[in-house]
Symmetry: D2
Subunit: 482 residues, 4 copies
C-alpha cells in the first residue's frame, strides 16, 4: 500500500460523509460544496506533490516507525535537515496554492505529542508513547490528514478554566468510563478540520493542579458521533458560489475555517495520550506552538512569493515596472519575505534532538520567526496595494464583463500595457485583492497574526527562552560588577 | 429656500433616475438597491448634521457668494479657521458613519477651480471664473452633491496622453461645437458619483503643450445623456444583500465605487471652466490634490476613531482590557490616529489666501498628511486585528446563529465577558472585520493608499514643496562654504 | 529700558560669577570656558534674533503684564496664534543654531505656573498668582533667562518620594522658616542652567497627601548660596577644547548639561509659588510637560532642517544627488520632520484659554507631538548616516589635515565632486557626525527621547486624554449595544 | 608550530613597527598607544579563545590545505556547518568584546579569492589559485591576521574609475614590472589594518573592459614600503587617553579605523591573484560582500547581546525592571537581535559548495541578513536609550567623581536601587552610551550601515538574486496567463 494520490484522498474524505452548518444550511454533500472544494483541493495538492517526480524527493521520506515511505506531512523529524526540508516543502506548497494547505497542523501536533508522551511516560509510568506510536504508524501508512485541534473558546480571558461559569469553555474530560473518556467543549479556528480524517485534540494552555480535567490529549475521527461543525464566514467568501469565477481571485485553491463542537464525544483509551498530567500540558503546548511557528516561516513565505510575483506582474501590466520606486517596493517585499523564510530555516537548522529521538526546532528562533510573521505580511500587503493601484477597490465585476455594453467599456478603459489582455490584468488584480482584502487575506493576514498564537504569546516565549539573566551576568563580569 | 434635509436629498437623487451596471444587472431603482443604499445614507448624514442643533454651527456657514447660509460641504473657505473647521467636520462625519461620506471631493474641486479659474482668467483673458461662480452659487443654493471626477484610466502608465493607442484613456474634448464641447473618456474610482447631482470633471495630471484636448474642466449633471456607470466590486459587498445584516459589520452606512464612462457627452459652454489652457492644468490638479489630502486628515481619523472604539470595546468583551499589552496597543492606535489628525489640522491652520480670495491649505503639510494616511491606517488595522483575535477570520455566519442547534452552540461557545451578550460581541467583531478585511477596508485601507493620489504622488509634491535648496544654502552659510 | 542684545546678555551672565565642577576642575571663568561658550552663544542667539529686523516681528511681542515689549521667550501666551508663533520661533532658532537654545524651558515653566497658581489661589486662598506675576514682570522687563528645573534624581524608581532611603532624592522643603523656606535636593539634566539668571524649581511628579514637603515650586537666582553645579559629559565633548575646530562639527553653537545640587538653599516667601498643595502638583507637571512637548515640535524640526540640508549637501558633494534612492531618503527625512512640525502646529492651533487667561496647548496633541519626537529623529539620523557614507566613522582628524604629508593624502583621497573643496566636504561630514553620533546627538537624539519626559510619560498622558470611553460609547450606540 | 596565544600575537604585531598619523602626531610605538590598544586587544581575544578549553572546539578546525589545525578565522569553509560555526564564533566574540574584533574581513576575503581564482584559472589559464593556496597555507600556519581591503575612495560617485580626474581614486596597477606590479591608491574604512600582519587588496566594484588596471587583487605585508596610515577620528575617542577610564564605557576593548594610502607599493608576482581579468572582478566583490554580510549576522548580534544585557541591568539598577513597558522593550530588542542572527544562520545553513571546493553562503539570504543589520541595531539603540534614561547624555565625568565634594554629590544623587553601588550604575550607563552615542556606536551603528556595503548595495543584490522572473511566471501559470 503506497501513498495516496490527490483524487484518492478526495474520495476518502467524501466517504466520511461529514456535515456542517454552512451559512444557515446543512449541505448533504460537503466536499463538493462550492465553498469547501477550493480548500480541499489545497490539501489534495500535498498528495499530488508526493507523486510528482519533480518534487517527490522533497515530499517522500522513510518513516522512523517502520520500513515504509511516508509523506513528509506525517513524518517524525529525524534530523535538523528534516526540519529544514519541512520548511522548504511548506514554502513550495504555499507558492503553488496561494493559500493554507492545512496539513502542517497535524504534523506539528504529532511531533509534539511524540516527544511529550515519551517524557510523560518516563515520569509518570504511563504508556501514552506506545499508544501514540501505534496510532501514528497507522496514520502514516494510511496516509491520512490529521487536524491538530488546540484553540479553546476560552470565554472570559481574565479567568482560568476552573473559574469559567461554563466549564466547557475549555475542552475537558467530562466523564471517565471504562474503556475511555467522554470529552466536551469546542475548538475554534479549525482550518483543515472538514478536510481531515482524524483530529488530535490538545490542551490550549498550561494547566495547573486542580485543572486535571482540562489536561487532555487524544485522537478521534472527524466523523465521530457528537461532533458538530459550524462554518466560519470569511471576507468575500460567497464569490466562490457565483457564476463567474474571475472575481474569486485564486482560481483553484482557497481557505476555510470551522468551529468544531464536541458534544459528549467518546474517546477509547488507546487514543488518549494525556489524561490529567497537568505538568506536561504546558510542554505539549510550547512544543506544538514552536513547530507551528516554524511552519509559518515556510508557508507564509510561499504565499508571499505569490503576492510578490503578482505585484511584479501588475507593475508590468500597468507599464510602470521600470520606475525606481516600484523596483524599490518589490525589493522591500522580497526582503521582508526572505527574512521570514530565513527565520524558518534558522530555527530548523539549529533544531535539537528530544529524549524521544525526534527533532525539535530551536524554540527561541521559532518564536522570533512567527513574531515577524505577525508583522511583515501586513507590510507586504500594504506595498502590494500601493503598486497595484486603486482598482483593487473599484474594479467592476466579472458579471459586468460579460454584458455587451459594460464589457466593451471595461475592456476599453481597463486596457493598459498593450502586451497584456485586459482580462488578464483583471485576473492579477483580483488575485492581489484576494490576498490583501479578500478571502485570501484571512489566511495571509489574520491567520498570520493569530495562527499558532497571537504576538503576545510569542513575546512571552521569547522572554522565557532568551536567557536574559545570562546576558546580564556577562555584562556584570565585563564591567567588574558583583 | 433653506438647506435640504437628509430625506429631501434622498428624494432629489431618486428623481434623477440614474442607472448603473451592477454585478451583471441593470437595476431600475438604483437608490433603493441594497448595495447602494448604505452609501447614500452616508451622504444623507451630511445633510442631517446641518439640521442637527448639536452640530449645525459646525456644518452651516455663510456663503461668500451671496447672503445665504450654506452647508460647509459647498463652502468656499474664507479663512484658515474655515479650513480647520472643514477637517473637524470631516472627522465628525467619519466617526458617525464609519465610512466615506463622499461629499468632500466636490468641495475640494470647487475650491480649486475657484482659485485656478481666477488666475487663468487673469493670464488668458478667459471668463471661467465668472462662469464658475454662477454655477457654484446655484449648487450652494440648491444644496446639491457634486462629485469631483479626476482619475483617468491612464492606460499604459509609461505613455503620455497623446501617445496612448486610444486617446480616450485620458478624458478629452473630442469635438468643439458652437455652444459647447463633446467630451469622451472615463473617470475611475468614483466613490460618490451615483449619489451626486452634478459632476465636476477635471484633468488627471499636468498637461503639456500639444495636449490641449486633455486640458479640460467642466460640469455636467450625473444623469446626462451618454454617461454610463459600471459598479465596482468590493470585498464582501454582497453581504449587504443577504437576509441577516449582522455579517455586514457597519449596520447603516457603507461605501461604493463606480466607473463612469463619458461616451460623447455634451457640455454647454457656460459649464466649461478650462478648455485647453495646459499651463493651468497642473495647478488645478495640485490644488485639488492638496485639499483632498487635507480631507483625509479628517475623515480617516474619524473612521480611525470607530476602529479604536471597537477595538477597546472588544478588549472589554474578551476580558483583556486591563492587560498592559492591550492598553499599549490602544495607545499606539490613538497616537497614530491623532498624528494623522494633527497633520490635517496643521495644513489647515497654516493655510493662505489665494489671489481669488479663498483659502488654500499649506501644500507641503497637506501632502505630509496624506503620506501618513497611506501608512498609519494599515498599522491601526493590524493592531485592531491583534487585539480582536482570530474570530475575525473564523466566526460563524448570522444565518447559522438563527439555526436552533448551531445558534445554541455559537451562543455557548462565543460567550466571553458575561457583562455582554454574545451577539453583541459578534456585532463588534463584524464591525472590525468590516474595517480591516471587509467592505469597509476598501475605504479605510485601499482608499487611504490611493485616494487623492498614491504615496508616490505625495512624495513628488513633498520634494517640490520642501525648499531643499534653501536648507542646503543655510547649511553652507552655517559652515562657511561657498 | 529695552530688550537686551546678545552681548549684553553674555555680560550679564558673566557677572553672576557661576562656578561648576567640569571634568575634575573648577574653572574660575565659566562663561569663557571652551565647553560652555558654544552653549551660551546659542542662548545669546535668542537675544540677537529679537533685534534682527528680519525676525523681530516674530520674537517681539507686547507683554500681558504691562505696557512694554518682551522677547517671546518670556511671553505669557495670549492666543492660539501666540502658541503657533512660539513653535515657528523655535523652529527658526533650531535651524539657525543646530542645537538646543535652552530658553524654552523657562517660558514653558512660566506659562504653567501662571495658570496653576491662579487655580490654586481660587481653591486654597493662597496668593501665589500675584507673587508670580510680580516675579515674572521683573523677568520680562529685565529680559532674563530662566531655567525651569523639574527632573529629580528619583533614586529607586519603584519607590515614592516618602519611601526613598534618602529624602533628598526628590527635591523638598527641608525647613520652613519665617520669611521663607530651605530647600534640599538636586535637579538633573539641566541644559540651560549655567546660562541662566534664574531658576524656576518645580515638582517632578504628582505628589500625594503625605508628600507635602515635596510639593514645592519656587524661584531662586542661579548664583544662590548652597547651589552646586556638576558638568555632564557628552559624546565628543572635549573636541571643543582642541586646537582645530573642524572636528567639532557645529562651528559656533553647542549644547551642555549640568547636574544642579541644592544644598540647603534659602528661598524667600515672595518667591514661593507652591508650598505643600499636593493637589496642584500634578496639574503643574502636566501643563509644563505639555508645553514642553509642544516645544519639541518646533526646535527638533529646526535641527532636523539642518540635518536634512547637510544630508542633501553631502549627497551633492559625493556626486549622488541625482540617484533615485538618495532623493527618496531625503523626501522621507523631510516627511518625518514635517510630521513632527505639523504636530507642534496642531497642538498650538487648537490651544485653549485657561482660567488665568493665558493659552494652554491641546494636551492630547502635544503628547502625540513629543511621542513622534522620540521616534522620527532616530530615523532621520539613520537615513542621514546612510546617505553620508562610512566616512562618518572613519574620517581623519583636522590635526592630520594640517600635517604636510597626511594632509596631502587626505586632500587627494577625500576629493569627490570637483565643484567642492575637500575640506568643505569634511566640514559637512563633521556636522552630520555631530548630530548623529557626536555632541549634537545628545540634544538631537537622547534629549528627543527623554527631554520633557520619556515616551512612557507621553503614552500615559495620551491614554488619559484620549477619551476612550467616549469612543466606546459611540461604537455601542452605532451598533445598538447597551 | 601551533596556534599563537594572544600575547604572542601582540608581540608579533609590535615587531612590525607600524607607524600612523594619529590626531596630528606620528607615535613611535603604535601598539601601545592608548587609542590603538583596546582595538588590538579585541584581535588578541580571537587568539586566546582558540586556546581556551571552553571555546577551542568552536575556534579550532582542521585545515583543508594540509594536516594541521587552524584558527577558524583563517579557515576555508568545507561545509555548511563550517559556515554556521563561523557565525556562532562571531556572535561569541561580539558578546565578549562588545566591539569589532576585525579578523573576519581577512577570512571573508580568503574564501572569496580561493573560489574566484579557481574559476578564473579555469577560464583564463592563469595560475592564481595555486599562488593563493601557497600564500594562504602560510597565513594559516603562521596564524596571522589579514586585513581585507576593498573600499576605494571613489571620488565623484557619478563617475567610473576611468573617468575620475585622479586615476588613483580607485586603487590601480600603476606599472607592471618584471617580477611584480606597482600599485597606487588608497583603501578607506580599514578597521583592522593597524592590527594586521598582511593585507589582501581587492577591487571595490565590477570593473568593465577598459578598466583592467583597476581589476587587481593581491597581498602585501602591512609594513610594506610606500604604505601610509592616517588614523580616523571617532566619537569620544580621546576618552581612551584620559586618566579615569570609567568614561570610556567599554573597559577593555574598542574599535578604530584607518585610512590606508598605497603610494607606489611593489607587489611581487606570487602575491598577485587578479591582474586585469575584469570579468572576475565583480564575482570576487559579490562573494566577499556576501560572506561579509553573513558575518554581520554573527558579530552584530553579539554586540547586541551586550547592549541587551546592559539595558536589562540598568533597568534593575533603576528599579524599573518589573514594569511591563520595560519588559516589552527588552523583548523587542531580543526579537530584533535574534532576527539578525537567524538571517546569519539561515544564509549559512543553506550555503553551497563552489567549484573550488569551499562553501559559499546563500547570497540572497546573506544580503537580506545585512539589510536587516542596517536597520535593527538602530532600533535596539533607540530602545536602550529609552530604557536607560536621560543620564546617557548628562552624567558627570569620572574625574568629578574623584573630587571630594562633587563626588559626594554624585554618589548621593545618582544612587538608585540600593542593591547596586552608584559607581556600578555609572559603569553600565557609560557602556550603553559607548554603544549608542560614543566610540562603540561607530562599530555598532555606522559600521552596521556601511560595513560590507551600504543598504543600496544589498538591495541591488537582493533584486538580482531574487529570481523575480520565476515568480512572475509562476503567477502567470497559476492564472492561466500567457
Amino acid at each position: 500500500m503506497g501513498l495516496k494520490k490527490g483524487d484518492e484522498y478526495l474520495k476518502s474524505i467524501k466517504s466520511l460523509r461529514l456535515k456542517a452548518h454552512v451559512l444557515g444550511e446543512k449541505p448533504g454533500d460537503l466536499p463538493e460544496h462550492g465553498l469547501v472544494e477550493p480548500s480541499q483541493k489545497a490539501v489534495a495538492f500535498t498528495y499530488d506533490a508526493a507523486q510528482d517526480k519533480e518534487t517527490r524527493d522533497l515530499f517522500c521520506v522513510e518513516s522512523s516507525l517502520g520500513k515504509y515511505v511516508v509523506n513528509r506531512f506525517t513524518h517524525l523529524h529525524q534530523s535538523a535537515d528534516d526540519l529544514v526540508n519541512k520548511v522548504k516543502m511548506q514554502r513550495y506548497c504555499g507558492v503553488q496554492t496561494g493559500c493554507c494547505f492545512q496539513r502542517c497542523v497535524g504534523l506539528d501536533a504529532a511531533n509534539s505529542i511524540f516527544s511529550t508522551t515519551y517524557e510523560c511516560d518516563q515520569k509518570h509510568g504511563t504508556n501514552y508513547h506506545e499508544r501514540f506510536n501505534d496510532y501514528w504508524g497507522w496514520i502514516q501508512q494510511e496516509d491520512l490528514v490529521v487536524d491538530g485541534a488546540m484553540t479553546d473558546p476560552k470565554g472570559d480571558r481574565s479567568k482560568r478554566p476552573v473559574e469559567q461559569p461554563d466549564p466547557d469553555l475549555f475542552l475537558r474530560i467530562k466523564e471517565r468510563r471504562s474503556g475511555g473518556i467522554i470529552i466536551s467543549g469546542a475548538k475554534l479556528h479549525q482550518t483543515g478540520m472538514l478536510n481531515s480524517h482524524e483530529i488530535l485534540v490538545m490542551p490550549t494552555l498550561t494547566m495547573r493542579p486542580g485543572e486535571e480535567s482540562w489536561a487532555v490529549c487524544c485522537a478521534v475521527p472527524t466523523n465521530s458521533k457528537g461532533i458538530h461543525y459550524i462554518y466560519g464566514r470569511q471576507a468575500s467568501d460567497t464569490r466562490k458560489l457565483e457564476t463567474y469565477k474571475l472575481d474569486v481571485g485564486n482560481p483553484v485553491y482557497g481557505g476555510q475555517e470551522v468551529m468544531t463542537v464536541f458534544d459528549d464525544v467518546f474517546v477509547p483509551a488507546e487514543r488518549v495520550f494525556l489524561d490529567g498530567e497537568v505538568d506536561f500540558s504546558g510542554l505539549l503546548v510550547e512544543r506544538f506552538a514552536s513547530y507551528h511557528r516554524q511552519s509559518y516561516g515556510g508557508c507564509k513565505a510561499g504565499v508571499g512569493d505569490v503576492l510578490i510575483g503578482a505585484t511584479a506582474l501588475i507593475a508590468q501590466m500597468n507599464g510602470v515596472d521600470k520606475a525606481s520606486h516600484i523596483t524599490d517596493k518589490l525589493v522591500e517585499m522580497i526582503h521582508l519575505n526572505e527574512t521570514i523564510y530565513s527565520c524558518g530555516i534558522a530555527c530548523s537548522a539549529t533544531g535539537e534532538q528530544t529524549a524521544a529521538g525526534n527533532f525539535q526546532v530551536n524554540m527561541l528562533m521559532a518564536n522570533v520567526c512567527k513574531l515577524n510573521v505577525t508583522r511583515f505580511p501586513y507590510e507586504l500587503a500594504r506595498l502590494a496595494t500601493d503598486v497595484a493601484g486603486g482598482l483593487l477597490g473599484t474594479m467592476p465585476s466579472a458579471a459586468d464583463l460579460e454584458d455587451p455594453l459594460a464589457g466593451k467599456y471595461i475592456r476599453k478603459y481597463l486596457a493598459a500595457n498593450p502586451e497584456y489582455a485586459t482580462v488578464d490584468r483583471m485576473k492579477v488584480l483580483r488575485l492581489i485583492e484576494n490576498l490583501v482584502a479578500g478571502a485570501g487575506a484571512v489566511g495571509y493576514l489574520i491567520e498570520s497574526m493569530h495562527g499558532a498564537g497571537p504576538p503576545t504569546a510569542q513575546r512571552i516565549m521569547i522572554r522565557r527562552q532568551a536567557k536574559l539573566g545570562e546576558k546580564i551576568d556577562k555584562v556584570k563580569a565585563f564591567l567588574g560588577i558583583k
